[in-house]
Symmetry: none
Subunit: 213 residues, 4 copies
DNA sequence: GATGAATGAGCCTTCATTCAT
DNA sequence: GATGAATGAAGGCTCATTCAT
């Protein structure tokens, strides 16, 4: 995807990972613009010149970082969704997993939110397409829940966006929530709010759901 | 608040407004970092030298812009809250008003989200304190609703944050919502979701609430 | 012609002259590519930042230098041509004057020859157009001489180019000529060669011409 | 001449030829400075590391290229001079041959003129010595012509330089000549101008010379 | 001998900020 | 108070050259 002077593709993959991990370490604290290529190189333990053998321009690293961070979120999604049956159970556990992961990666997520705008068109498109795909997966869960008679709402597409958005709230607004509430308290309340918002039937059999009400 | 060489405080206020309005015009399109002081000066129709008589450093303008933009949101809140009786009606209409205003100011809001991190501690604190205050007002509305027996939830403080956060969703995720749904459809669904999430009783008498269910 | 941030056009002219004179001083020794902007700034006694207020990019200085140097040649041409009557006398004295000036400016001329290729299209065109204009003036002198029955040749346009080219020979090949011959000896022989090449009648009355044969 | 790590001198010669031919291909278009070692290596179909086994530094390639290009001119000289008897015939045909060759190699010649200055002292000397040698050969032709009573001039050494210089004019000033005149028209006029400049007697017997007058 | 990855000095350019008028 | 010219530190990026395999 990203242009590189290096022939060996395995090395390219390995080095790009190394670069992006090193970059993220600095981006978390200073953001993209405030971080110089020299700092990135140092943090990634690669020389400045060599760094430019694996990328074309600074912005490429922004994309690599973005992709890497979001991938970790998406992975949490897919792993969790695969581990549960039933759309409501899946939804509940996905929320729980992603809120948790988002909290762990709160600085990284914040970074993504604040720096997406700096991505060039081409990269922006790819990032947004991927994100859109996962919002779509939430929508499918909702629709499945509705089909199963376990959920009810008018616009699943709208709520999928809202729900997805809410899962990352700790990254953006943790400063106002976490001093007062634990991650667990927050998560439970968010799940409750979401299920009620989706008119989840209290009587259903999912353990998770039952416990939380 | 911001240091200035100029004696006349009225002139200072006037000029700072002029500067911040000029700055916002450019910030919307290019963000804070990508905008040079020259551009700000030009957009604000003030000379570069004179500009520095009313602020100390570029970051000061970021703060002025931030404050100005958020003020517009807060104003919508206060005006709407004042126009309605009953906590649920207030809540519903505040959501409606702020979603609308956030949509109008979506570029500005996005700017605030993405550039808050560049604020220095001192300014950041003031901005966050103010925002926290308004989340508090939401919480009061919820608690009032609960007290009136019209709402029910476990953690009003948590949900106040979530609800506030959701009101600005169009600025951050409009790209994935607006191509598919109108602002009105979105708003209605968000309000419905929120009311259900708060276990609002369908039978209550507020016109807004009744209509939407 | 060249973009500048500075408002006062007199100052722009003055500073651009200063810049280009400072630049030429370094260019003569090191050429264009090998000279850094820092060196140019230092040689022109202007700060690096301020330098960029008067030009847009390094190449602009190359153009300024080019123009300045060639202007000095052209000036010698026009002054000399104006000082003499009769096309042959004019031609002879123009050769003498320009060979002399080219010798004085030999490093600068050499610089022009070796760095023209680095000029961007737009500038190149302007430089070449001007040069072409002066070759045209030589051609006119030849044609006038022919019309007056004092010269004879088949292709005045071709020879105008050759003659013009020969006037700058000391700049490009002085290394092989000047160790063995004085500028005067060279000039006299070149003029003789040229007049004979143009079949100038020995019997004519121009003093210059008579002396040299 | 040029330092190399490789033992086998045949291999060195072969590789250096390969390198210089590859380099010239790129130099013609981009010049010396603008061409990177990577590009040279690619154009010469040799790896970057291996390239440095046959040269010491980039400048060495400049010398190799220079020598290779000029050799082609010198070859044209020697071949032509050998093919004709009589100094004037030789002179005329050498001019014709070298003008032709210079036109074919105009980009390369231009390259030599514009990049000589980048040669380091040691190489510069060798290049200039060789060139001087050929100017000397022209001078000999003139002196022979004078001795044979076929030519006349005061300073054969000066005119030898001028004549040599004029043979490469198409490379440096073709832009102003070739749009208007064919190479043949130019060559004929240059020869005529030169012969007249040397007071060649019209009545002599050389075929070439007779035809052209 | 050959390959290509690695190094780091140095270049052009921008821009926040100061200062003379 | 206002203007706009001046300063110089710092940033992204390139590229000649070296080195490990």
């Amino acid at each position: 995807m990203i242009k590189s002077n290096i022939k060996n593709p395995d090395r390219v993959r390995m080095r790009q990972k190394q670069i992006c991990r090193g970059a993220i370490k600095v981006f978390r604290k200073k953001g993209f613009h405030a971080t110089s290529m020299r700092e990135i190189a140092k943090s990634a333990q690669i020389s400045l010149g060599n760094l430019y053998d694996y990328i074309e321009k600074k912005e490429d690293i922004l994309f690599l970082a973005h992709r890497d961070i979001l991938e970790q979120i998406y992975q949490a999604f897919d792993e969790t969704a695969a581990a549960f049956d039933g759309s409501v159970d899946r939804l509940v556990n996905v929320i729980r997993a992603i809120v948790k992961r988002s909290f762990e990666l709160r600085q990284e997520i914040l970074f993504c939110y604040t720096e997406t705008k700096s991505l060039e068109k081409k990269y922006m498109k790819e990032i947004l397409r991927k994100e859109s795909e996962f919002v779509g997966k939430i929508e499918v869960l909702i629709r499945d829940g509705i089909a199963a008679g376990e959920l009810r709402c008018e616009e699943p597409g709208v709520l999928a966006n809202v729900i997805w958005y809410n899962m990352t709230i700790l990254a953006l607004r943790g400063w106002n929530i976490l001093p007062a509430y634990s991650v667990e308290t927050f998560t439970d309340e968010l799940i409750r709010f979401t299920l009620r918002g989706l008119c989840a039937r209290e009587g259903e059999k999912n353990k998770e759901t039952r416990d939380i009400f």
